[in-house]
């Protein structure tokens, strides 16, 4: 199956937690993780800003740490992560690599 089709399927999959339960089965995605998808949109999976649910949490964390510690000139990502701690980056990567299915 090609990447963008898989992406679409993921994107229209059911929410991460069951209707009617008092507590979500898994924690809902954080507003920050949802805002990353304004650019990294699963419905689109643009080459310039790929869908993050196609990447592993480890790969996402690695990219964010690189953008924070060794930013390339003109990197957009550096603007968002310069003040994030290792722990914040790890938790964001875990969420986006696995749970965000807008």
């Amino acid at each position: 199956m090609n990447k963008s089709l898989l992406c679409l399927l993921l994107a229209v999959a059911t929410p991460t937690y069951a209707a009617g339960s008092a507590k979500p089965k898994a924690a809902p995605p954080s507003p920050l993780a949802l805002s990353c998808t304004g650019c990294h949109q699963p419905l689109v999976n643009a080459k310039e800003m790929p869908a993050l649910n196609m990447l592993t949490p480890a790969k996402i964390a690695e990219s964010l740490l690189a953008a924070r510690d060794k930013p390339k000139a003109g990197s957009i990502m550096a603007r968002f992560v310069t003040k994030m701690s290792d722990a914040q980056i790890a938790s964001l990567a875990a969420e986006l690599g696995s749970t965000v299915r807008p």
Binding site: A19, G20, S30, S35, G38, L43, R79, V81, T82
Partner: protein
């Protein structure tokens, strides 16, 4: 005489039954109801995420326009670089894509205490919470001679309607050597870089079509603007001597116009500037609905609690996007989309008894300086103790070469496809 339900509905006296929700109705009986007003970047995004985050919530989206042009990329339409169709979205299509029941109708009364709304044609509805994302309205009466009835003659093209096409077509008639004037408003207003992106792309269009001797005057009601150093650097390089920025301190503020002659008077000037085309972007405030439903304060904008974008004036009502007081977050489509996700998460948490989400927002505004080059500014925000602060930010480097500006233009195009797919549904054909 007995009044029928229909008569009552017409008079706005009965509460209309909630429209059936089609496929979403199979999800069992709703536990809560939220009405979202406005299907722009803020409202459409909020409706979508409320539905996915809180499946037991019934969402009703109400938008008065059956279709609209997006602000983002509308300046590319002016320069002939995009078609109007490629930036036009249809309200019913948005509702269908998000699986949200949608009414194309105008909310004429919003009661922020009873949490009810009355529409022009479909009756009244009540809800557990109401989200309002109505955008901006022009503040008429500040510039002498300019009002809602004649502004199309000096098109602001700032609210995604026919004025965009009007302005595009009028640009064709500007002769070489002609004068184009852009009136830029005082802060706060929708899309802080918008007037300067517009100046850049008009300069691009005029120079590409053999009209390099035209003059573009930006008559500004303020003394600084976002990405100023970058814009001015690129103007010098790409359009030498074409664009002149007149700040407020040098008498840049537009105070009077004559729409029949094209004359524009700046503050303190004895004689008017005679223009071939003027695009006057008036000072702004939150849209009429925000004012009429007591959600705006004396500034004309809506105070909110940044943790969840709940109105500070009326609990139970949330306000999103351009209509809010959310500085230092700019009034952008990106910010409206980001605020909508925070608001939907907070409302879902409250309706379902989950812990409140961590209030974080992102923004990026890309601006084209030519057909192939763009610059950008971004920030990451957090809300603490009722205030929004910048956690980190950045802007394109002044030393950026052409390759970087071209890369950013490609990113800007990818962003447009992504943000519109996210906010309005599946990607749009170009």
């Amino acid at each position: 005489m007995t009044l029928s339900r229909r008569d009552l509905l017409k008079a706005g006296l009965a509460t209309a039954t909630w429209p059936s929700l089609g496929r979403a109705a199979n999800r069992g009986k709703p536990k809560s109801r939220v009405i979202v007003i406005g299907a722009g970047f803020g409202g459409a995004t909020c409706a979508k995420y409320l539905r996915t985050l809180s499946p037991t919530t019934e969402v009703l989206l109400i938008e008065r326009r059956s279709s609209f042009l997006t602000g983002p990329f509308s300046n590319l339409v002016l320069a002939g670089l995009r078609s109007a169709e490629s930036v036009t979205f249809n309200t019913e299509t948005i509702g269908a894509a998000h699986g949200v029941k949608t009414l194309v109708d105008e909310v004429i009364v919003l009661d922020p205490v009873k949490l009810s709304v009355t529409t022009a044609n479909s009756g009244s509805f009540t809800a557990d919470r109401i989200v309002v994302a109505p955008g901006v309205a022009m503040r008429w009466g500040m510039i002498e001679g300019l009002d809602a009835t004649n502004s199309a003659t000096m098109p602001h093209a700032w609210t995604g309607d026919g004025q965009v096409l009007e302005l595009r077509d009028r640009l064709d008639a500007v002769p070489d050597g002609g004068t184009v004037l852009i009136g830029a408003p005082a802060n706060p207003y929708r899309c802080p870089p918008g007037p300067y992106e517009r100046a850049s792309l008009i300069a691009f269009l005029l120079s590409r079509s053999g009209r390099k001797n035209c003059k573009i005057i930006i008559a500004d009601a303020k003394d600084d603007f976002t990405k100023r150093a970058l814009f001015m650097l690129e103007w010098d390089a790409l359009y030498p001597d074409m664009i002149e920025w007149l700040p407020r301190a040098q008498g840049g503020e537009v105070v009077r116009v004559d729409t029949s002659t094209g004359e524009v008077w700046l503050r303190g000037a004895e004689k008017p500037i005679v223009t071939h085309l003027a695009s006057i972007v008036p000072p702004q405030q939150a849209a009429e609905l925000a004012t009429s439903s007591d959600l705006a304060d004396e500034s004309g904008w809506c105070p909110i609690n940044p943790a969840d974008f709940e109105s500070k004036k009326h609990p139970g009502v949330h306000v999103l996007g351009d209509a809010t007081i959310a500085a230092p977050v700019p009034k952008s489509a990106f910010a409206a989309n980001s605020q909508a996700k925070l608001c939907a998460s907070a409302v879902a948490a409250r309706l379902n008894g989950w812990p409140a989400p961590e209030p974080r927002l992102l923004n990026t505004c890309y601006s084209f300086v030519s057909d192939t080059q763009a610059i950008s500014v971004s920030a990451f925000y957090g809300a603490v103790d009722g205030r929004i602060s910048v956690l980190s930010d950045g802007v394109s480097p002044l030393t950026g070469d052409t390759a970087l500006r071209e890369l950013e233009a490609e990113q800007a195009k990818a962003w447009y496809v992504s943000i519109t797919a996210d906010s309005f549904g599946l990607p749009h054909a170009e």
